[in-house]
């Protein structure tokens, strides 16, 4: 299985992430692209800041991808790119792309990776509103 795991402060090239997983052996590619929404919990968002503990984020991301490969041994390629720094509305925050020989597994593996990434990968989001900022999910 090939893996491309990146955390970057540069704009994400979604097409490059997709191209990185495509092979002639895997007919199915599923990709999830998370972009910056203009609202969050009913509040208007102006922009976002992502902070990352890079080395741990990549370590944990490696675990997540390894777990996905255990669950779906047919997984042939995975690319995950997460942005950090300041993002504007509409900017791509994360891309997860996976390639498998068959369709259903591409959806399942991609969803597993993004869902688990959100639980364990050490990246923090601070939303900026008209009247202040907030670390997302920090408080109950």
């Amino acid at each position: 299985m090939t893996r491309h795991l990146t955390i970057t402060d540069q704009p994400i090239d979604v097409a490059a992430a997709l191209a990185a997983v495509q092979t002639e052996a895997a007919g199915a590619v599923n990709a999830f692209v998370g972009t910056v929404r203009n609202q969050s919990g009913g509040r208007a968002v102006r922009r976002l800041h992502y902070e990352s503990y890079d080395s741990m984020a990549l370590t944990q991301l490696g675990h997540v991808v390894a777990q996905a490969h255990e669950k779906w041994p047919m997984l042939q390629a995975v690319a995950v790119v997460h942005r950090k720094g300041t993002l504007a509305l509409g900017d791509v925050a994360v891309v997860v792309a996976v390639a498998t020989p068959h369709r259903a597994e591409s959806f399942a593996a991609c969803q597993y990776i993004i869902d688990t990434l959100k639980q364990v990968v050490t990246i923090w989001k601070r939303e900026e509103y008209e009247d202040g900022t907030e670390w997302v999910a920090a408080h109950p």
Partner: protein, 80 residues
Amino acid sequence: MSLTIALYGITRDIVGAATIELPAPAPTTVGELLAEMRRQYPALGELRSCAVAVNQEYAPTDQPLHPVDEIALIPPVAGG
């Protein structure tokens, strides 16, 4: 022994620094570290959760700490 703790996200805001040094006698386990940090910074206790990472892995409360360890407080993550 002393420990250096890296701080991210809201924990950095609460402590007011990117790292904090705990001089000897420092906490010897993850559980002791969390208790000590919450004693010094009660706002940490108000978070939804606060984990401790040792050498880039989530650590259980009984895990021992050593000065060479890469230690960080991990407030609730929100990637993706």
